[in-house]
Symmetry: C2
Subunit: 92 residues, 2 copies
Protein backbone atom coordinates (compact mmCIF):
# COMPACT_ATOMS: atom_id res chain seq x y z
CA UNK A 1 0.00 0.00 0.00
CA UNK A 2 1.63 3.22 -1.24
CA UNK A 3 1.72 6.41 0.79
CA UNK A 4 -0.37 9.08 -0.93
CA UNK A 5 1.15 12.44 -1.86
CA UNK A 6 -0.12 15.71 -0.39
CA UNK A 7 -1.73 16.43 -3.75
CA UNK A 8 -3.50 13.05 -3.87
CA UNK A 9 -4.78 13.51 -0.32
CA UNK A 10 -6.01 17.02 -1.10
CA UNK A 11 -7.87 15.65 -4.13
CA UNK A 12 -9.51 12.81 -2.21
CA UNK A 13 -10.52 14.74 0.96
CA UNK A 14 -13.51 16.55 -0.61
CA UNK A 15 -15.12 13.12 -1.12
CA UNK A 16 -15.40 12.87 2.69
CA UNK A 17 -17.50 15.16 4.87
CA UNK A 18 -15.51 17.24 7.36
CA UNK A 19 -12.36 15.14 7.48
CA UNK A 20 -9.06 17.03 7.75
CA UNK A 21 -5.48 16.18 6.87
CA UNK A 22 -3.38 17.07 9.93
CA UNK A 23 -0.31 15.67 11.74
CA UNK A 24 0.21 12.97 9.10
CA UNK A 25 -3.32 11.59 9.50
CA UNK A 26 -6.78 12.14 8.16
CA UNK A 27 -8.99 12.91 11.12
CA UNK A 28 -12.46 13.83 12.28
CA UNK A 29 -14.30 14.40 15.55
CA UNK A 30 -17.81 12.95 15.86
CA UNK A 31 -20.24 14.08 18.56
CA UNK A 32 -23.23 12.09 19.78
CA UNK A 33 -26.15 12.53 22.15
CA UNK A 34 -24.47 10.71 25.03
CA UNK A 35 -21.86 8.08 25.95
CA UNK A 36 -24.06 5.14 24.98
CA UNK A 37 -24.57 6.51 21.48
CA UNK A 38 -20.86 7.28 21.13
CA UNK A 39 -19.81 3.82 22.24
CA UNK A 40 -22.44 2.11 20.10
CA UNK A 41 -20.93 3.92 17.10
CA UNK A 42 -17.42 2.83 18.16
CA UNK A 43 -18.58 -0.77 18.39
CA UNK A 44 -19.96 -0.74 14.87
CA UNK A 45 -16.76 0.88 13.60
CA UNK A 46 -14.64 -1.68 15.52
CA UNK A 47 -16.16 -4.58 13.58
CA UNK A 48 -15.47 -2.85 10.26
CA UNK A 49 -11.88 -2.08 11.29
CA UNK A 50 -11.33 -5.72 12.06
CA UNK A 51 -12.90 -6.73 8.72
CA UNK A 52 -10.64 -4.28 6.85
CA UNK A 53 -7.67 -5.23 9.03
CA UNK A 54 -7.03 -1.53 9.55
CA UNK A 55 -7.34 0.20 12.91
CA UNK A 56 -7.74 3.80 14.02
CA UNK A 57 -6.04 5.86 16.67
CA UNK A 58 -9.18 7.04 18.44
CA UNK A 59 -10.19 8.75 21.64
CA UNK A 60 -13.52 8.89 23.43
CA UNK A 61 -14.58 11.44 26.02
CA UNK A 62 -18.23 10.98 27.00
CA UNK A 63 -20.22 11.81 23.83
CA UNK A 64 -17.24 12.65 21.64
CA UNK A 65 -15.18 10.32 19.44
CA UNK A 66 -12.01 11.66 17.79
CA UNK A 67 -10.63 9.48 15.04
CA UNK A 68 -7.21 9.65 13.39
CA UNK A 69 -6.26 7.39 10.50
CA UNK A 70 -2.93 6.69 8.93
CA UNK A 71 -1.03 3.64 7.71
CA UNK A 72 1.89 3.02 10.01
CA UNK A 73 3.65 0.60 7.65
CA UNK A 74 3.54 3.13 4.82
CA UNK A 75 4.56 6.09 6.99
CA UNK A 76 1.59 8.18 5.99
CA UNK A 77 -1.94 8.25 4.61
CA UNK A 78 -2.92 5.55 2.09
CA UNK A 79 -6.02 4.45 0.22
CA UNK A 80 -6.77 2.10 3.18
CA UNK A 81 -7.33 5.18 5.34
CA UNK A 82 -9.71 6.71 2.85
CA UNK A 83 -11.58 3.41 2.55
CA UNK A 84 -11.97 3.14 6.33
CA UNK A 85 -12.93 6.82 6.63
CA UNK A 86 -15.70 6.27 4.08
CA UNK A 87 -16.96 3.25 6.03
CA UNK A 88 -16.91 5.25 9.29
CA UNK A 89 -18.75 8.12 7.65
CA UNK A 90 -21.44 5.76 6.39
CA UNK A 91 -21.91 4.37 9.92
CA UNK A 92 -22.05 7.76 11.69
Amino acid sequence: MEKLTEKEIAEKLPNLKGWEHKDGCIQKNYTFKNFKQAFAFMTRVAFECEAQNHHPDWENVYNSVSIKLNTHDAGGVTQKDFDLAKTIQDLA
Copy 2:
Protein backbone atom coordinates in the same frame (compact mmCIF):
# COMPACT_ATOMS: atom_id res chain seq x y z
CA MET B 1 -18.41 14.42 45.35
CA GLU B 2 -15.37 16.14 46.92
CA LYS B 3 -12.07 16.55 45.10
CA LEU B 4 -9.39 14.49 46.87
CA THR B 5 -6.20 16.12 48.13
CA GLU B 6 -2.77 15.14 46.81
CA LYS B 7 -2.18 13.34 50.10
CA GLU B 8 -5.43 11.39 49.88
CA ILE B 9 -4.68 10.38 46.28
CA ALA B 10 -1.16 9.27 47.22
CA GLU B 11 -2.61 7.15 50.02
CA LYS B 12 -5.21 5.50 47.79
CA LEU B 13 -3.03 4.82 44.73
CA PRO B 14 -1.15 1.82 46.20
CA ASN B 15 -4.51 0.00 46.38
CA LEU B 16 -4.48 -0.02 42.55
CA LYS B 17 -1.93 -1.85 40.39
CA GLY B 18 0.19 0.43 38.21
CA TRP B 19 -2.10 3.45 38.15
CA GLU B 20 -0.40 6.87 38.22
CA HIS B 21 -1.51 10.34 39.26
CA LYS B 22 -0.56 12.68 36.42
CA ASP B 23 -2.00 15.77 34.72
CA GLY B 24 -4.89 15.96 37.21
CA CYS B 25 -6.04 12.40 36.47
CA ILE B 26 -5.37 8.89 37.62
CA GLN B 27 -4.28 6.94 34.58
CA LYS B 28 -3.08 3.63 33.27
CA ASN B 29 -2.20 2.03 29.95
CA TYR B 30 -3.40 -1.53 29.30
CA THR B 31 -1.95 -3.69 26.53
CA PHE B 32 -3.70 -6.70 24.99
CA LYS B 33 -2.92 -9.42 22.47
CA ASN B 34 -4.65 -7.64 19.59
CA PHE B 35 -7.36 -5.14 18.67
CA LYS B 36 -10.23 -7.56 19.29
CA GLN B 37 -9.05 -8.23 22.83
CA ALA B 38 -8.53 -4.51 23.48
CA PHE B 39 -11.97 -3.57 22.21
CA ALA B 40 -13.65 -6.45 24.04
CA PHE B 41 -12.15 -5.03 27.25
CA MET B 42 -13.36 -1.54 26.35
CA THR B 43 -16.87 -2.87 25.80
CA ARG B 44 -16.98 -4.49 29.23
CA VAL B 45 -15.65 -1.30 30.79
CA ALA B 46 -18.18 0.81 28.85
CA PHE B 47 -21.12 -1.00 30.48
CA GLU B 48 -19.65 -0.44 33.95
CA CYS B 49 -19.03 3.24 33.20
CA GLU B 50 -22.65 3.64 32.23
CA ALA B 51 -23.77 1.79 35.39
CA GLN B 52 -21.58 4.06 37.56
CA ASN B 53 -22.55 7.12 35.51
CA HIS B 54 -18.88 7.98 35.29
CA HIS B 55 -16.93 8.00 32.04
CA PRO B 56 -13.24 7.88 31.15
CA ASP B 57 -11.12 9.86 28.77
CA TRP B 58 -9.64 6.93 26.89
CA GLU B 59 -7.68 6.24 23.76
CA ASN B 60 -7.22 3.06 21.77
CA VAL B 61 -4.45 2.31 19.30
CA TYR B 62 -4.62 -1.29 18.04
CA ASN B 63 -3.89 -3.44 21.13
CA SER B 64 -3.36 -0.58 23.57
CA VAL B 65 -5.96 1.21 25.73
CA SER B 66 -4.92 4.32 27.67
CA ILE B 67 -7.35 5.38 30.36
CA LYS B 68 -7.49 8.68 32.22
CA LEU B 69 -9.98 9.29 35.01
CA ASN B 70 -10.97 12.48 36.75
CA THR B 71 -14.20 14.11 37.85
CA HIS B 72 -14.84 17.14 35.71
CA ASP B 73 -17.51 18.62 38.01
CA ALA B 74 -15.16 18.44 41.01
CA GLY B 75 -12.15 19.78 39.10
CA GLY B 76 -9.95 16.85 40.06
CA VAL B 77 -9.78 13.26 41.22
CA THR B 78 -12.55 11.96 43.47
CA GLN B 79 -13.59 8.68 45.06
CA LYS B 80 -15.69 8.01 41.92
CA ASP B 81 -12.45 7.77 39.92
CA PHE B 82 -10.94 5.30 42.34
CA ASP B 83 -14.15 3.24 42.30
CA LEU B 84 -14.15 3.10 38.49
CA ALA B 85 -10.40 2.36 38.39
CA LYS B 86 -10.95 -0.59 40.72
CA THR B 87 -13.76 -1.87 38.47
CA ILE B 88 -11.56 -1.50 35.37
CA GLN B 89 -8.70 -3.28 37.08
CA ASP B 90 -10.97 -6.18 38.01
CA LEU B 91 -12.11 -6.48 34.36
CA ALA B 92 -8.62 -6.32 32.82
